[in-house]
Amino acid sequence: MADDRDLLPSERPVRLLDETGSPVAGASLPFPDPERLLAAYASLVVGRRVNDQASALVRQGRLAVYPSSHGQEACQTGAAMALAEGDWLFPTYRDTAAVVARGVDPVEVLTLLKGDWHAGYDPYAHRVAPQATPLATQLPHAVGVAHAARLRGEDTVVMALCGDGATSEGDFHEALNFAAVFRAPVVFFVQNNEYAISVPLARQTAAPSLAHKGIGYGIAAERVDGNDTPAVLAVLDRAVARARAGEGPQLVEAHTYRMQAHTNADDATRYRDQDEVEPWKARDPLLRMEAYLKRRRLLTKARRAEITDRAEAVAAAMREGIARDTDPEPAELFAHVFAAPTPQLAEQAELLADELSREGH
């Protein structure tokens, strides 16, 4: 049994940069190296562009809905960058930017919201599980994937994402407990953005912080300023390294903020004041990172332009890909219910095919 103090998070969220992008004095973790920071910056810019492009596509009626992680890109970037190629990511519906940062084509990710199918990408191709909609239900799966890998002697780490609301679900509890008991190499990364649709954090928990929940399971926990990209990277890098080294599951809570409504279908003015949102604009992860990189003279104009161009290219490919008429095939409705259709499904498929042929399809 670990010492209690090793399991508790630090008294304040770990920070490497203050809100102006200046390094804080006496930081508890070293800065990631400059190349890693530049790569993270590029990922932030792309992530922001993906978020805003997807929201625009909703306004144009191309996507049904988009739960944006605008303002949470440091967490999205960190989650993907902390993993090695053979690791797994378990995202939620708000983690599109993280899935893209892991290498999945944004158009494939948005298949769900475009309405062509449910999960649009191959989970095995990039080791990214389908984005989970029912809260916290993906967390026990993450434990299972990690446990299976560990049984085979692989050094895979699984990064399991969820939000503050999900920490109230039973599956959050069960997953953390199972992971701890089986010492499964899972990093549970909670993006606390203060809201579960309309309900503020105070209605989800009376704990001192969500990271404090770790000690109840015997899980080492840390909290980090979720808009401080170097800090998120440093904390997640350490958590992944510890999980990989066999130190058991880790819990990381990032303090961030949902800058926009839950989705475009939600009206945030019904439950929060704009006064509350304003200060968070100054804490924007991109601005902070950019200020730091400029101060350190790491971000040249040419590099910045190159990154912006890349983000624009991603956005253009999204617009083009989403606009493409894909016309999902009705017969496919029966194709993936079982490995082979049952006689009953074969009969129903025939019924639909007959209906369609009479309609002249």
Binding site: H118, D122, H141, G144
Partner: protein, 330 residues
């Protein structure tokens, strides 16, 4: 694997099936509550931890959603988990995992991620169990697209259906009738394995067909025996597989007699028995001399032990239903 006929209870047959599957395939993992050193409250996993080690058969924390959820992850990652829900009604915390993930993952991922896993559920009554230990929960699973649902009525079927379930590329909810765990029968483990999805005629008959499954098959057979003494020949069909359902065997049987009674222990409203009655009516209408009858449990929460005999389909109730099949029109 044993060869030639052996006398086995259903519990022993299930244990043998797990043992043989684990020996044959090292990706088969067994876990759940008390399934380790204890061997499960019904001893279905008896000796597996000792034989295969505590990695292959292990106890988990007491949390059904976690058990099924972890199995989903292991199945995603190359394993064939077989998990035990301790009792029918204790599986309900896992229902979200089962309905939202176990059943849907292949479909959600467009066929890219199949979940070869088995959820074993000891179910139904007849053992004098107290509340929350005797539910017939098969309709919840059978109603959920993406789940294969099977239920054996004999030790031999228990063995072969479980082997088939573990080999299946799809998730299988394996419903084990608790009251049949201990009855012994000759089992030939080297016999050819009946595929999942096939019903079987348990007793030939010419006057009417009793369609049943799991715990009620034995009662249907008793009823057929009693009817024979009164000069009426009842055929008994054991559906065995609720999903996929063997319409061909069931309908061929019903057409041969022209009369049918569906016998099942679960409450009748919106039940598997209702589905079978509807399917038979739709498919065999012109061969039927009488409406299809159902003999099921009442639409009440499962009764306390001293009253449960009133809930279970009985020989008399089955024979009364058979008497109602408009014989006067013959």
């Amino acid at each position: 694997m044993a060869t030639g006929p052996t006398k086995l209870s259903m519990a022993q047959a299930l244990n043998q099936a797990l043992r043989d599957a684990m020996a044959e395939d090292e990706t088969v993992y067994v876990f759940g509550e008390d399934v380790g050193p204890l061997g499960g409250v019904f001893r279905i996993t008896d000796g597996l931890t000792a034989e295969f080690g505590e990695d292959r058969c292990f106890d988990t924390p007491l949390a059904e959603s976690g058990i099924v959820g972890m199995a989903v992850g292991m199945a995603m990652n190359g394993m064939r988990p077989v998990v035990e829900m301790q009792f029918d009604a204790f599986a309900y915390p896992a229902f979200e995992q089962i309905a939202s993930h176990v059943a849907k993952t292949r479909n959600r991922t467009r066929g890219r991620v199949g979940l070869p896993m088995v959820i074993r559920v000891p179910y139904a009554g007849g053992i004098g169990g107290v509340e929350h230990h005797c539910d017939s929960s098969e309709a919840y699973y059978a109603h959920t697209p993406g789940l294969t649902v099977v239920t054996p009525a004999t030790p031999a079927d228990a063995y072969f259906l479980l082997r088939g379930a573990i080999r299946s590329e799809d998730p299988v909810v394996f419903m084990e009738p608790k009251k049949l765990y201990w009855g012994k029968e000759e089992v030939d483990l080297s016999a050819p394995e009946p595929p999942i999805g096939r019903a079987v005629v348990r007793r030939p008959g010419t006057d009417a067909t009793l369609i049943s499954y799991g715990p009620s098959v034995a009662t249907a057979l008793e009823a057929a025996e009693a009817a024979a003494q009164e000069g009426r020949s009842l055929q008994v069909v054991d559906a065995r597989s609720l999903v996929p359902f063997d319409d061909d065997t069931v309908c061929e049987a019903v057409r041969s007699t022209g009369r049918a009674v569906v016998v099942a222990e679960a409450s009748g409203y919106a039940s598997v028995a209702s589905e079978i009655a509807a399917r038979v009516t739709e498919r065999c209408f012109h061969s039927l001399a009488a409406p299809v009858r159902r003999v099921t449990g009442f639409d009440i929460p499962y009764p306390p032990p001293k009253l449960e005999r009133f809930q279970l389909p009985s020989v008399d109730r089955i024979l009364d239903a058979v008497d109602d099949l408009q014989w006067e029109d013959q």
